[in-house]
Amino acid sequence: MGIDTGGTYTDGVLVDLSSQLVVAKSKARTTHENLTVGIKNCLEILKSQSLPEELFSNIKLVALSTTLATNAIVEGKGGEVGLLLLGHGLEGPIPTSHVMEAPGGHDIKGREKQELNLQEVRRALLAMKGKIDALAVSGYLSVRNPVHELMVRDEAQKILNIPVVCAHQLTTALGFYERSVTAVLNARLLPTIAELLESVRKVLNIYGIEAPLMVVKGDGSLMSESVTREKPIETILSGPAASIIGATFLTGRKDAVVVDIGGTTTDVASLEAGKPMLNPEGAAVGGLLTRVNAARISTFGVGGDSELWVEKGELKIGPQRVWPLSVGVNLYPHLLDELEHVWTTDRKTKEVSGGQPCDCYILLRQPDMDNLSPMEKQLIEILRIAPHNIFKIAAFSGKDVSMLGLKSLVDREIVARASLTPTDLLHVRGDYSQWDCRGAEVGARIQAWRLKRDLDQFTNQALKAVERRIAGVILQSLLNDIGYRTDILKEPLLKPFVERVLGISTEQFQCMVKLDKPIIAIGAPVENFMPQVAELLNTELIIPEHAEVANAVGAATGQVMEQFDILIRPSPEGGFIIHAPWERKDFLELADAVDYAASEGEKYILHSAQRAGAVEVNVTVTREDVYSNTSQRWEEELFIETRIEVMAVGRPQWQDEKQGGQKVC
C-alpha cells in the first residue's frame, strides 16, 4: 500500500507486486491540522470499494510519502533543539536559539585543528540541560574526521539523556553551515515525525494492517520506521521524488522527462536509469539550505489555474494563481450575471488598469479587523455579503475600478481572486465540463475582445500559448540539468532559435529540437496540453494510467537504497589517509587502504541497508582512481585520490520475512 499526503489530496493505492498492477486507488482531502485524519479517510474510501477481503489483510508493506517534515520546517514547528558547534562559529540564520560553541574540529586532511575540550563541552551541555528536547552536534570539517562529533555524542548521552544528532551522519558533503542547519532541522523534526508514525500505526491497526511501515526519502528511496525516527530530515521533498518513481513504475521507462502539471506550477524532473536525478546542492526548504539529497526538480509558475491576463494588447500567462471563473461561477451563480454585465456594458465605459475587467473577488475568511486599513475594512464589508466582480465592488465602494487596493488582501489570503485561466478555456473548448462553462465563456469573450479576436480565435491562441510555455519550461529544465542557468527566452542569442523551436516565429528559418527521451506526463490537464507539447519537442508522450496517484504508486514501489563515498588521499607525511563516514584512518600502502575501505564499507552499508528495512540487498563497491594530467611541459600524471563508492540496493522487507544480503563487486 502506498500513501501520499500531498498539499491538497491524500492518495492511497494498493499495488499487487506479483502482477505489477495497481489494483485499487483512492483520494481524500489532506487534513493539514492532523494528517492522520486524511489518511484514515483515504483508507476508508479504499476499504469501501468492496475489494476482495484478503486484499486488505494481505498487505505486506505500507509506504508513506509525506509533506509533514517540509511543512513543519516552513512553519517553524518541532521540538526545542540545542546546537553545539565544534571549532567554528556560524554566520547566517540558524533555526534555533540555543547555540553553543566549544574548541575542537579538524582540518581538511582530517587532522585535529584544535583539541576537543571535553570540559568546555560538558559546560555547554549542562548550560543547555533542561531547555532542549534534542541536541545537534556539528564539528568543523567533521566529514573528514567524525571523531569529535562522536565523542561529544557519547558525552551528551551520558549527561543529557536526550536524542543526539551528529551532522556527519546526515551528509558527507562539505559546507559547515548547511551541515549544521541540516542537523538542527533533523533534531527539531524528531518529535513531529515520531508522532506521525505513531498515529499512522494506530490508523493501520484499525484496519488490521500489521505490515512494516516505511517512509519515502527525498531521493525517492524508502527507509524503515526506525531509521525515519532518527533521520526525519531525509523525508523532505519526498513527494516529487515519489512521483518520479511512480512514473517509472507505471510506464516501465527508465529514462524520461517527467512533467507534472498542477494548478499553480509545472514541475519538471529527469529520470535516469530508473532514478531521479539529484540536486547536487542539496534541498532547500523554507528558505534554509540543507545538505539533504533530493531529486532535482525545476518548478515553473504555469499551471491549470494560472491567470491568463491581457496587458497592452498582449496575452500573458501566470505566474499568479487564481480561481478559474468556471469554478467561481459554479459556486456563486450570481457572478455570471455580473460578468455578463461587464460584457454588455462595463467594458465599454471604463478602462481597467492594474487588473482585468473579468476579475471577481471572494472573501475566504473573516480577518482580524484591527489590522486593516479603513479602505480594506470597507472592502471586507462588501465581500462579506457576497463575492463580486470588480465593477460591482467599485460601484458599492464609490471608488475607481482601477484603485480598489485588493491586492494586499489577496497576498494575506483573506480574499481570493477569480479570473480567466487555462482551465476555463478547456471548458470553452468543450474538453472539460466539470465546472460552469458559461462563466468561463463570458470571461474568455471579454479578454478576446480586448485582444480584438473572436472567441474561437482567442481560445485557440491562448491554449497554444500555454502549450508553448510548457514546452519552453521543459527545454529550460533540460538545459538547467546540464548546467545552463540563464532564461532561454531572455538570452538574446538564444531567443530567435527558441522562438522558432516553440513555433512563436517562423520568419526566415525554422528550428527544431528533438528530445532523446520520452515525456511522461502526470497531473490533471495533461491530456489536453501535452500531445501538442510533445509534438513541439519531437518526442514520444506517455500518459500512464493512474497518473493522478503516481506519488502513492511511487511510495508503494520504491526500493531501499543507501550510498556513500570513501575518500583515500595521499598523506603529506607519506602513506594514505582514508576518510570514511565513520572514521579517518592512516595506511602505509594504497592497496591496504583500498582493501580496508572496501571491506569495511561493505559491512557498514549492509548494516545500514538492513536497518533501513532492506532485503535481497545488492552491495556494489566501485573503485575510481582519480588522476589528472599536469601541463604538457611536465607530462606527468598526478594522483589526486581514490574514491570508493559503496552502494546498497534492496527491496523493502515485507511482513513475516527475514533479512539477508549478498554482495556484487
Binding site: 547566517g92 582540518d107 562539505l174 594530467n629 601541463s631 611536465w634 606527468e636 589526486i640
Partner: protein
C-alpha cells in the same frame, strides 16, 4: 649602444643585477612597451633558467640570482604598467599554496593583472588554506588566484577550494589557478573556474571571469 632583448636575457640568466637594471632603464628611455620588456626580455630568460636547472646545468644559488635580478628590473617596469589606469575593475587575491615557496611566476601574474586596472592583494607564499579563507573574508575579492610550481603542492589547491566550500565562501567567488605544472584538466578536476598558462593570458582570464 642600442637596447636589445638578447642582452637583457643573458643578463637575467647570468644573474647580473646591475646590468639588468641598466638595460631596463635604457629600454624605458627608448620607449619600449613595458609589457614587452617582461614578455620578450625576462620571461624567455627565466624559461631557459628553468630548463638548465632541470638538466642540472644550473644550481639553486644561480637560479635565485637570476630571479633577483629580474625582480630588480621589474621594480622599474612596474610603475609604468600601473600608470594611466585609474578605475578599479575588481579585487584579486593572489597567493602560492601551502608547502610551496615559488613566487616568481605569481608575482609576474600579479603585476600584469594590476596593470590591467585591478587591485591585487598578494598574500605571499606557503599559505595554509585558512590564510586564503581569512583573506577572502577580509577583502571580499571577486577572484582568488592560486599558484603552485610543485606537483606535490598542486593538491593543496584542491584542499584550499574544499576549505572555501566548508566555509560557504566558494559560491561567491571565482577561482583561478596557475603555475608551470598546472593544466586545464587539473583545474576542472578540482572545481576551479579557470586556468592560465602564463601572465599574459592570466589577465585575459581575469577579464573573462569578472564578466562571466
Amino acid at each position: 649602444m642600442m637596447f636589445s632583448f638578447e642582452e637583457v636575457q643573458s643578463a637575467v640568466m647570468a644573474g647580473e643585477m646591475d646590468k639588468v637594471v641598466e638595460l631596463t632603464r635604457k629600454a624605458i628611455e627608448e620607449k619600449l612597451q613595458p609589457v614587452s620588456i617582461i614578455n620578450e626580455g625576462y620571461i624567455p630568460a627565466m624559461n631557459v633558467v628553468g630548463k638548465r636547472f632541470k638538466n642540472g646545468e644550473m644550481f639553486v644559488p644561480e637560479v635565485l640570482m637570476a630571479a633577483r635580478s629580474m625582480n630588480a628590473g621589474m621594480e622599474l617596469v612596474k610603475p609604468l604598467l600601473v600608470e594611466g589606469e585609474v578605475q578599479v575593475k575588481g579585487t584579486i587575491l593572489l597567493g602560492t599554496v601551502k608547502g610551496d615557496l615559488h613566487d616568481i611566476g605569481k608575482n609576474l601574474v600579479g603585476m600584469m593583472i594590476e596593470s590591467g586596472g585591478y587591485v591585487v592583494i598578494d598574500l605571499g607564499t606557503d599559505l595554509e588554506p585558512e590564510k586564503f579563507v581569512e583573506a577572502v573574508k577580509e577583502y571580499k575579492p571577486e577572484i582568488v588566484g592560486m599558484s603552485a610550481l610543485l606537483t606535490t603542492t598542486m593538491l593543496a589547491m584542491k584542499e584550499t577550494i574544499e576549505v572555501l566550500k566548508e566555509e560557504g565562501l566558494r559560491d561567491g567567488l571565482k577561482i583561478m589557478i596557475g603555475g608551470a605544472p598546472v593544466s586545464k584538466e587539473f583545474a576542472d578536476e578540482i572545481d576551479a573556474d579557470g586556468y592560465a598558462p602564463d601572465a599574459a593570458s592570466a589577465t585575459e582570464l581575469v577579464e573573462k571571469l569578472i564578466n562571466a
